[in-house]
């Protein structure tokens, strides 16, 4: 269980303590929006990773069951662009708790009602997580696209009306969101739009993908080269407890799917081994203790 210190390359090595969190890039890199800060540059035309099929997911679920996975996350791109998404969620909810990361704009009343039925039918939690990047259109739309603020709120309201309470995710692209005042303002805002039990997750920016062009890329000093990893630090890093399935194979984490050397194999079993923290995005996880989990 000991975290290892520097390998010969000079980068610390993150062990895999247990595969607790299994991610599925269920919509590949295909998205109906094209957010300016997307760390994997998703768009309607980005086929870097394709949609996963129900059969793909089932195959990995069988392996995950044997490995004792604790929870499942679905992301993209936009998961509700996947035509098999409801069947995929239903299958997964038989095996464990599920979170879906969505931009919310495709969630209408019928979608929300169907999700509520899936949630009610399972003994496990179904969490829908919606991304929004501001308190109003003026702060959100420059990042997520013209007119998206109102469309996102439509999805939030549909879920709330159906009796589901989404987690709202905000990145630090929304200035001040991470401060205590920013959080308070968000909690008040969420109550005002019909979420009496607001749930909020603030995420740091990952300076890769589209975000490199929007604000800046990582500086050369933002690296873990030469750093030691204590067992406590290792315990916080999400890659010591997760893996990500995409159409191209199994990757170390949800962040590094555009890095060919972050692909660890074709099956989950292939990836039950340590990973070298040589990517600059690893710096953000290490410095902030950030996890893509809710």
């Amino acid at each position: 269980m000991n975290a290892q210190s520097c390998a010969s390359s000079g980068f610390p090595i993150a062990p895999l303590f247990a595969l607790d969190t299994l991610w599925f890039q269920v919509a590949g890199t295909l998205c109906n929006l094209q957010c300016m800060h997307c760390f994997i540059s998703c768009s309607t035309t980005n086929h870097a990773h394709e949609m996963l099929t129900l059969a793909d997911v089932k195959r990995h679920l069988r392996e995950a069951e044997a490995l004792g996975v604790k929870e499942y996350y679905f992301t993209g791109g936009e998961p509700f662009m996947n035509h098999e998404i409801f069947e995929i969620l239903e299958e997964t909810l038989c095996q464990g708790p599920v979170s879906v990361l969505t931009n919310g704009v495709l969630i209408r009343a019928d979608t929300a009602a169907r999700l509520k039925r899936l949630s009610d039918a399972s003994e496990y939690s179904l969490d829908i997580r919606i991304s929004i990047d501001g308190w109003n259109a003026a702060t959100n739309d420059p990042i997520r696209g013209a007119g998206t603020f109102e469309r996102i709120l439509g999805g939030v309201r549909a879920l709330a009306s159906a009796g589901l309470n989404p987690v709202i995710t905000v990145t630090e692209a929304c200035e001040g969101a991470a401060t205590q005042d920013g959080r308070t303002r968000f909690f008040d805002f969420l109550r005002s739009i019909g979420l009496p039990q607001p749930r909020l997750k603030i995420m740091p920016l990952l300076r890769i993908g589209a975000e490199e062009q929007r604000l800046r890329a990582y500086e050369s000093w933002e690296t873990l080269k030469g750093r030691e990893l204590t067992p406590e630090e290792a315990g916080v890093l999400q890659c010591t407890g997760c893996r990500m399935v995409t159409s191209k194979g199994v990757y170390v984490c949800p962040i590094l799917i555009d890095s060919p050397d972050a692909k660890m194999g074709e099956t989950l079993k292939d990836t039950m081994r340590p990973f070298q923290l040589s990517h600059q995005a690893c710096f953000t996880c290490h410095e902030t203790g950030f996890s893509c989990r809710t």
Binding site: A18, D20, A64, E65, A66, L67, G68, V69, K70, E71, Q95, G96, P97, S119, E123, Y124, S125, L126, D127, G163, L164, N165, Q180, R183, Q197, R199, L200
Partner: protein
């Protein structure tokens, strides 16, 4: 550290987080004796939230019942700056800090030294089943095992990794059980010190006993003088939000950690 094996039992009482609620502890001990248990065991988090933390510790120490170290005892024993409860939201951490600072100040040095000696796990046998008692999970003192996010395959992995048939834990404050086979699974005994976020002021503990060759679980409600506890909390200057929970049975703080379904059951 080698895990102590307490031996074989017919019927035991298990107390989850007491959170300085010495009044509910006394009541649960009384109920346990009337139910004829052959052991009572406390699973950690004796302090926090409530008033006069030493009263709970003194009752536990005087009774001599086996106890496990929770994250609170670990923090107090190591003079940590916070309770290591595992929250991430700043406002949750602010309330947790008020609670921890009060408890740290009011806990006698000798009791903190005693807390350092407590084991993280205990083992015992009921109906031939190997029980592993812990605070959060067998692998982490502050891991939250909630009903709707602790799936069967994961439970099987924990049982296999820790050579147990049944894991008994607390830390979340909500009681639940899930079995993957006869006598195999997880029992979270909930909290003895704080209501179960259900709008009722009573608290809970669990009795596990041998029944028809298997382990049976009873969650036992405890009615106690919660109005007196609320008065004492007020006079100690503890936050009104904490007092409200004791009086109403609804959780008012540290809600961010709750999974979707558990959150939906509460008022806040």
């Amino acid at each position: 550290m080698t895990t102590v094996d307490l031996g074989t039992f017919q019927r035991i009482s298990l107390f989850g987080g007491i959170y300085s609620n010495y009044l509910s502890l006394l009541k649960a001990m009384e109920i346990s004796r009337s139910r004829g248990v052959d052991a009572m065991i406390a699973l950690g988090d004796f302090g926090a939230f409530g008033p006069h933390p030493d009263r709970t510790v003194e009752i536990l120490r005087a009774s001599g019942i086996p106890t496990i170290q929770g994250n609170y005892e670990e923090s107090l024993a190591t003079a940590a700056e916070d309770c290591h409860c595992g929250y991430t939201d700043p406002s949750d951490n602010a309330f947790a800090q008020i609670s921890y600072d009060y408890t740290r100040e009011k806990t006698a040095v000798a009791h903190k030294a005693w807390m350092a000696t407590l084991p993280p796990h205990l083992r015992l046998t009921i109906a031939g089943k190997r029980l592993l008692l812990c605070h959060g999970s067998p692998r982490k003192i502050n891991e939250f095992l909630w009903e709707t996010t602790t799936p069967r395959p994961f439970i099987e992995k924990l049982l296999s990794d820790h050579a147990a048939d049944l894991i008994v834990c607390t830390h979340t404050g909500l009681q639940w059980q899930r079995f993957t086979g006869p006598g195999r699974g997880v029992v979270n005994v909930g909290a003895l010190g704080r209501p179960a976020n259900d709008g009722k002021p009573n608290v809970w503990f669990a009795i596990l006993e041998e029944r028809a060759g298997d382990v049976a679980v009873d969650f036992v409600p405890v009615e106690y003088d919660h109005a007196r506890l609320a008065r004492e909390m007020r006079s100690e200057g503890l936050p009104g939000e904490f007092v409200e929970t004791i009086e109403t049975g609804w959780w008012t703080t540290c809600l961010e950690i709750l999974p979707a379904k558990e959150r939906a059951r509460g008022r806040f």
